[in-house]
């Protein structure tokens, strides 16, 4: 008993001494630096004992609440794992992007009203990101989204800047173009489809994805013979399905949401041309347990960001489960976790500690360093940012709802095809 305690005490003192030495070493380095001069965008000054303030700008209400809530949890877990950053606590201010331009604006204004705000992880939706990035850019505040996928926010991946790219904007989510390629490659090469139909629902996300699919599929040599749309709130999809069935495509890609997709699968089995569910493909918006239990979704395909594998992710999921009492509810929690960690690492690298313990975080330096991120090891892969802020290590899975009674985890695990763009 005694010995064990003394071992403990000794090791504790050793650890403390080592930490003290490390800190002292740091102090020496700091002392060597010149007086801190803020750059062109200014700097955030964090007094000793004050927290480092980070914003989360996510869709946390309405129909898309689960998308944003999932990511807020990812950020919260990243903060909990980090503990303290440079001796300061990390405080999170959560704002709602309402998955719309209006919410993007209001939430961003709320965030920029805090002069101590260092950076923002968000938004959830691309439509909210457009105005939010502009407002945050005016203040020189870095913004890392973990679920925006619109190419307009970064680039077309071939060197052309997107129309809404801002120089403060980065993301850890994949670009739509990548998912479009993945779905198209799978359809064309794995399934041997020559013709396809796309259906979107007027949502910018689904329409963008349908367009990206069409571009890639055409490039591969296939033909999209029907590109059509339904409206949110529609229940009777038969007229649209008649249009699709009349063209008799080899496959139908409908990256839309519930409940409209429920009606599509339920009613498509009335059409001999579409009866075969092997022809149907959805996207990540439909990978939910309420959708895959529908009898007509058996054998359907889904494209979506690959579920990370590996022990670290399993640990993360366990923590998520312990903390929130349920398994991750959407696809982008790990991207959010990575975005937050990437941000913390960068703050760690660029922050300057003054003699009195005040932390200076230069906004320009933070942005430069974020854009220079290379080989960051996250849950979703190895992240490297390009010049337009696309940082993801994109990996898209195509999964199949293979057997009756499959759970959502089973479906996610039933990977038929994985796509990673060539470097």
């Amino acid at each position: 008993m005694w010995t064990r305690r003394s071992v403990f005490v000794i090791s504790l003192f050793t650890t403390l001494a080592l930490v003290a030495a490390a800190c002292a070493g740091d102090d020496d380095e700091e002392a060597a630096t010149e007086e801190f001069e803020p750059g062109a965008l200014g700097a955030v000054e964090v007094a000793p004992g004050d927290p480092i303030l980070i914003g989360a700008h996510q869709a946390i209400s309405g129909d898309t609440a689960s998308l944003g809530t999932d990511q807020v949890r990812g950020i919260e877990l990243a903060i909990a794992d980090r503990g303290e950053l440079l001796g300061h606590e990390i405080e999170l201010q959560v704002e709602d992007d309402e998955c719309a331009a209006e919410g993007g604006t209001t939430g961003a204004q709320r965030l920029v009203a805090e002069p101590q705000l260092v950076a923002v992880v968000g938004t959830s939706c691309s439509g909210a990101a457009v105005p939010a990035a502009e407002i945050l850019s005016d203040e020189g505040i870095a913004m890392i989204s973990s679920s925006n996928t619109s190419p307009g926010l970064t680039s077309d991946l071939e060197g052309t800047e997107g129309e809404n790219h801002q120089d403060n904007y980065l993301r850890t989510a994949h670009n739509d173009i990548v998912q479009g390629q993945a779905a198209a490659n799978f359809a064309f090469e794995e399934l041997g489809a020559q013709t396809a139909a796309t259906i979107h629902d007027g949502d910018p996300y689904t329409q963008g994805l349908a367009t990206a699919f069409e571009a890639s599929f055409t490039e591969l040599g296939g033909e999209v013979i029907v590109a059509t749309a339904v409206n949110k709130g529609d229940t009777d999809m038969r007229p649209v399905l008649t249009e699709v069935a009349a063209a008799n495509p080899d496959m139908v890609f409908f990256p839309i949401f519930q409940p409209e997709a429920d009606f599509i699968v339920a009613q498509s089995n009335e059409f001999p041309e579409l009866e075969d569910t092997n022809k149907l493909m959805g996207a990540d918006g439909l990978l939910s347990d309420t959708f895959i239990v529908l009898p007509d979704t058996e054998n359907m395909y889904f494209s979506g960001p690959a579920t990370p594998t590996g022990g670290e992710y399993q640990e993360f999921v366990e923590k998520y489960n312990d903390e929130y009492g349920e398994a991750p509810i959407q696809a982008f929690h790990a991207h959010a976790y990575d975005a937050a960690n990437m941000l913390f690492d960068t703050i760690d690298a660029v922050a300057v500690e003054e003699e009195d313990g005040t932390l200076q975080i230069d906004r320009q330096a933070l942005l430069d360093e974020l854009y220079a991120t290379s080989g960051f090891e996250g849950l979703t892969g190895t992240l490297t940012c390009d010049e337009f802020g696309d940082c993801a290590d994109p990996s898209i899975d195509v999964v199949q709802n293979g057997e009756p009674e499959a759970t959502i985890e089973d479906v996610r695990g039933n990977v038929l095809y994985n796509f990673k763009p060539e470097e």
């Binding site: 209400s61 331009a101 105005p131």
Partner: protein, 613 residues
């Protein structure tokens, strides 16, 4: 209190020496209100409001959820204790024991209903269907047990019943006080509520004053609030100040400021008015910086709704044409601005805002004409559904793949530039308030000018009775079309401002819900009343942004408010005098009689507003 003539009880025929005996506080009404109050408390608990609100402390350690539960018996007790309005031929009601007793009964019944609910949810698991009846309400041993105020079952139920009864009786007992004192106390309660709920607003304004005017407001801020919640001492201070202010401004024999200024000789009066204007300008000048970017943003959003509501007020309030698709004009304004100014929109025009404005006006007027012409011969109900249809048609066309090459379809139009006035670029929410204010003043001026013009009188005649108006020579066609066009132009300008403010527009911003919201603003604010409409927009659109706890319940509250306003106060928060007269002719006659008896102090919103001014 009865406001609707149809519901006035039949007058007894017995005569008692000139006047009938005074009508008494009806104890059965106390019972009924108690049951309704209890149902209300159960309802707000079952939809999750109480639990959602329990996270925010408003007064010391009192959470908003608990405050809501406590407010219910208070309000229903007050209603139960209210003596009936004086009617022609009856002696005035004297305050007496019946008021607090009615309140007590209401409170006990409210408590009893809640107790029954607690018993139910403890014994039966309803969660499978009623997802918001969570253990936090009463079951969870370690939880907050919100309905029991954190106590265990027995003491909690006792406390709950006692509090309900006491608060309801107290609310009812207010009627024993003199009218002036009672109203002063109500004003105090209102002010404390406002300070507690609007904490972010008050603190931001104090911070803004400190930063911009170099007046140290920190101590005041710390005196008022601890964290998010109002301190008890501060609440008492605010209440006393409000009561004092009320009594002082309404002291007997005081002459209203306006009358005082009016009585001044010419020169000093002009000076006084000039000084007033100067102060107003100064306030407007520093207001945006005091408010800071976020409150300015909220005000900007509310301001756009003010603009739209002023426009819809002309269509619905003045001309009586129920337009449920008003958002169509807003969308036209926004989209025309967007395609003409955005360098990447369908036309890649890249014009300045000012170059686009004439086209916005033209397009909006054309849209007004387009909607107005086919509906010329349709009556109110047909009009509603057809205009609703036009609203949907506009949204779907802007969304459609068909017109996407021009209007961007689902991806909307982005990169809409800011307004540039001479050397100034209107960037950010604070600067945006100025062009917005100018347009609102313009719209308000137009509204007033039209109200008293020939066409304004034609609209109102048409609103009363179309056939009669036509028979007396009103040109119905011109009146209807001009109402649609003026309304469309104001909404179009609102849309143009919205587009530049937000910088990117998407079709889902032009949902039917916008039309309904604007309608609610007009109705609740006061149809045909310009100040009412402005207040309505600020309260109904601005406040929910500040009170984020209410955000999830916004449409529930809108719905309730619409029903309540129509039943109790169809003329709105700040009624137009003429409109109130139309709706309450019978009450006005009543009032005239009561006033003629020189009794004064006829209680109740309708009586006082209809006769006020």
């Amino acid at each position: 209190m009865t406001t609707i003539p149809a519901a006035v009880a039949p007058v007894p025929v017995t005569d008692a020496g000139g006047l009938l005996p005074a009508r008494q506080v009806d104890l059965r009404r106390g019972v009924r209100l108690g049951l309704i109050g209890g149902t209300t408390a159960v309802f707000v608990s079952a939809i999750g409001m109480v639990e959602d609100f329990s996270g925010r402390e408003v007064l010391d350690e009192l959470s908003l959820g608990t405050a809501l539960l406590l407010a219910i018996p208070l309000v229903f007790g007050y209603m139960a204790g209210r003596p009936p309005a004086q009617l022609e031929g009856f002696a005035p009601t004297r305050p007496g024991w019946r008021s607090p007793v009615a309140g007590l009964m209401a409170g006990l019944l409210t408590g009893a209903v809640v107790a029954a609910f607690v018993a139910l949810i403890i014994n039966v698991n309803l969660r499978e269907y009623f997802i918001n009846i969570t253990p936090a309400l009463a079951e969870d041993e370690d939880g907050p047990r919100l309905l029991l105020y954190g106590r265990s079952l027995g003491p909690g139920l006792g406390l709950m019943l006692g509090l309900n009864a006491a608060l309801a009786a107290a609310g009812a007992a207010l009627h024993l006080l003199a009218t002036r004192l009672r109203r002063a106390i109500l004003a105090g309660v209102a002010w404390v509520t406002a300070f507690a709920l609007l904490q972010p607003f008050v603190q931001q304004v104090l911070r803004g004053i400190r930063d911009e005017l170099q007046i140290e407001t920190g101590p005041l801020s710390r005196f008022l609030y601890r964290g998010d919640s109002l301190r008890i001492a501060a609440a008492v201070a605010v209440a006393l100040a409000a009561v004092g202010l009320y009594l002082w401004t309404r002291r007997p024999g005081r002459i209203p400021l306006r009358t005082q200024v009016g009585r001044l000789p010419d020169r000093p009066r002009r000076l006084a008015l000039g000084a007033g204007l100067l102060v107003a300008l100064l306030v407007v000048g520093i207001l945006p910086s005091v408010l800071g970017s976020f409150l300015s943003e909220v005000l900007g959003v509310a301001g756009i709704f003010v603009l739209m509501a002023l426009g819809l007020n002309i269509v619905v309030g003045y001309a009586g044409l129920l337009d449920l698709g008003y958002v169509a004009f807003f969308a036209v304004g926004a989209y025309i601005t967007a395609i003409l100014t955005s360098p990447t929109g369908g036309l890649e025009a890249g014009w300045t805002f000012w170059a686009a404005v004439p086209f916005v006006l033209l397009a909006a007027a054309a849209a007004g004409l387009l909607v107005g012409t086919p509906v010329l011969r349709m009556r109110g109900d047909y009009l509603a559904i057809v205009t609703l249809g036009f609203g949907e048609i506009a949204r779907i066309l802007f969304l459609s793949d068909w017109l996407a090459p021009t209007f961007g379809g689902a991806q909307g139009i982005k990169r809409i530039p800011d307004i540039v006035i001479g050397p100034f670029e209107i960037r950010g929410p604070q600067a945006f308030l100025y062009p917005l204010l100018v347009l609102i003043l313009l719209a308000a001026y137009v509204s007033y000018a039209l109200q008293n013009s020939r066409i304004g009188r034609a609209w109102m005649a048409m609103r009363e009775d179309e056939s009669v108006a036509e028979a007396v020579g009103v040109n119905i066609v011109a009146a209807k079309l001009s109402a649609f066009i003026v309304g469309a132009i104001l909404a179009g300008l609102g849309g143009a401002l919205f587009a530049t403010k937000i910088g990117s527009i998407f079709p889902n911003s032009f949902d039917i819900i916008v039309s309904i919201t604007v309608l609610v603003v007009v109705i609740a604010g006061g149809m045909a009343s310009v100040p009412g409409v402005i207040l309505g927009a600020v309260v109904l659109v601005g406040l929910p942004e500040l009170l984020r706890e209410f955000e999830d319940y916004r449409f529930l509250i809108y719905g309730t408010l619409l029903i309540f306003m129509m039943l109790r106060r169809p003329e709105g928060f700040i009624p137009s005098r003429r409109r109130a007269q139309e709706l309450h002719e019978a009450d006005i006659e009543q009032d005239a009689w009561v006033r003629a008896r020189a009794e004064g102090g006829a209680d109740g919103a309708v009586g006082s507003t209809a006769s006020g001014g």
